[in-house]
Amino acid sequence: MTLRNVPDMDVVSAKRSPWRNLSLVWLVPILALIVSMGVAWQSYNNKGTLITIVFKDAAGITPKDTTIRFRDVIIGAVEEVSFSKDMSNVVISARINKDVAATLSPDTLFWVVRPEVSARGISGLSTVLSGVYIDAAWIPIEGSTSRDFNGLSETPLIRPGHEGTRIKIRSKNGSSLTPGAPVFFRGMEVGRLDTPKLSETADSTDVEAFINAPYDKFLTTDTRFWNVSGFSVTLGAAGLNLNVASLGSLLTGGVAFENIISGGGPVTDKTIYRLFADEGAARDSIFTQLSANAVKMSVVFTESVSGLASGAPVEFRGLRIGQVSAIGAFVVKTPSGSTVNMRAVISIDPQTLGLDANATPETTRAFLDNLIADGVRARLSTTSIFSAALKIELADVPNPATARIEDDADGTPIIPSVPSQLPDFTATAQGVLERVNKLPIEDVMTQAISLMASIETIASSKGTQQAPAAILGLIEDARGLIGKDDTQALPGELLAVITDLRSIVSELKDRGLVDQLSSALTSLDKAAGDVATASGALPKLVEDLRAIATKVNDLKAEELIAAVTRVMDSADALITTDGVKSIPPALASALTEVQAALRDLRDGGAVENTNAALASAREAADAVALAAKSFPGMTSQLDAVISKADALIASYGAKSTFSSETLDLLRELKTAAQSVSKLARTIERNPNSLILGR
């Protein structure tokens, strides 16, 4: 049994047809091979395309570890860091995803992202732990073969592939523009500035800016850009104005833009925007911008053009019609030698004159010629009372000499000019204050006080008080001698004088002269305060004004009033004395005694009495005259003040509250002075009239 089976179990028989008995297990190594090859191929495929990037230095870059990213997705890794042949640069070999590498454009930007702390914020913080990485940005292209690139030493501010518009801004001065400074549109940060560069001619600074989509659609050719660097402080009549755009822009500067006027075409590559110093200038530029067919003209001045600058406005009856484009001097030969005249070249926009926008220069010139025939002339004038800046104004001049537009040697039409009436504001204001300061107000007051004191002295002097008694005595003595109406009218005249005085004083009181003076000076002080806030250049002026105000406050006005009142009281007392009151009845009843007196006169001896009475009256009158002597002096001083003030006010010209108040004040002073003067003259001319009533 065993032997029978042996041949069947021969192992060798299995080897006879090895292919037929092939085991399925062979599939395993084949499968393993396929898988391994697949893995190998895949890893080879994943290795990516080798590219080289040249950097100045390789700070932080480590082979294998440093990744290359695009839009924060890892697209490759650094393989090797080596030097360029001349050892001046670092060459980084990196493997990039094959698919990505096929889109690399030749101007792909590579830069190393490091932690960065700047005024604009902190960036790249993640690299503190993970180490630096290389960021890339490009605009994908098809089938790229570029493999060698130059790396940037700094993070680019504007990356390719970002949607938006790149524009160019031209500025006179790039000092306030820093790379990466924000661009604002209505307070929103919508873009970034690139690094400022000098223009080709080096007369301005050009900076490229990138406005992110979708804000770039707000850009038109009429868009205005202005500087919002840091903060701006404006000192004006409205006070102190502090303007800060944002904390970031405070440190790095920035620009803002806005479409101040509608219209304007789409932005092109060649659009270069002008950067204005501030928003105000940008807004004003709407009016300063001249149309394409502005007419070039010139104006010749024989006077100084200090304060007239290029860009200064040219106005016609207050409306801006153009601007000064250049100022120069030229020599004119005259029979007496040669003089230097100033010439301002101006550009006039026909549109602002109401002409058609496409008006030819000839039309504009003809129009201006008509104006000049009607008496319009060019002249310099100040732009504002606080400014020394000048503008050229085309104004109607009364009775001008005949003139017309003539061409100069260059063929530029010359608009005839007239000398300007330029009040130098600073000098004028200083002068006003100096004059006000010089007003002998204190002297006037002192004199008025002493006058009143004198009057009081007279009124209260024994002689004066005795005068009624003396008169009574005299009249009683001369009953028969004096019986005329004039004598009877004497108390009335005295009363009138007193009334005059009273009215002066009440005028002083009622009109609140002193108050007005004080309030006028307060308003002057306020005005000075305004001036002070408006301009730091006038501190002395302000000091003067303050000093005046203080002086006015210190004036002994109350004392004056009190003295006058005292005089009035004395005068009242004088009038109301029984003696004076009893004069008319005494006169009436004295007729009989007059007769007696006449009888006595006849008898002799009464003449001496009369003489004595008259002498005493003269004495009193002399005292009055002495007092009145100071009147003319005061009056003339007041007159001088008034004439000065008149001249001052005339020179000041403007119908401001200040001047009208001052004028009122001075007029009142004048009236008062005239009344006093009149009284004084009357007394002086005829001291006896005080007593005699004539």
Partner: protein, 211 residues
Amino acid sequence: MENAGSARTYLTARDAGLINCTTCGRVSSADETACARCGAALASRDTQSLQKVWAWWIAGIIAFVPANLYPMLKTATLGTETESTLLGGILELVHHGSLGIAAIVFFASIVIPASKFLAVAYLALSIGRPSRFTAHRRHQIYKVVEFVGRWSMIDVFVVAILTALVQLGSAASIHPGIAAVSFALSVAFTMLSAQSFDARLIWDADKEPHT
């Protein structure tokens, strides 16, 4: 079984006209095709044994190549990712001074798999050829290979445990590389290769020169 060096004649089951069931160990007569106890198919010798051995062996070799070339571990620490291959890891251990561990890893990951390949290849080749070693010696080699094969998985276990333990988010994390899978496959393939080997062939090969 003792006296491995001497070429003694001994009776095999095949010589006695018997078949041993490899599943349950029952001895049947040579003309039976199925085991009377467990019903498994009976064959005196596995005719496809060598084929299978070589197929698994080649698969194991193929898998062993990427296991050594590709990274075994991917360690990510704070964003930086390091990959280490088998040999790289061993060298790193040596650098760090852990010579003992390096030796164990080297032994388990390089020496044992490599020697297994050599042993299995030798055994397979020695069938039907005169051999320097006696049948007993070769049988002992086979036993050792079969026993040691599973310990090669120690590397794979280390990777598996590390991967499971070190998952600390961005601070540190470990992922198995392609090599881990390849190595596990390679070990499995060599074990299968060793298992496919029909040790009874050794006796036949040993006997032939004597008969």
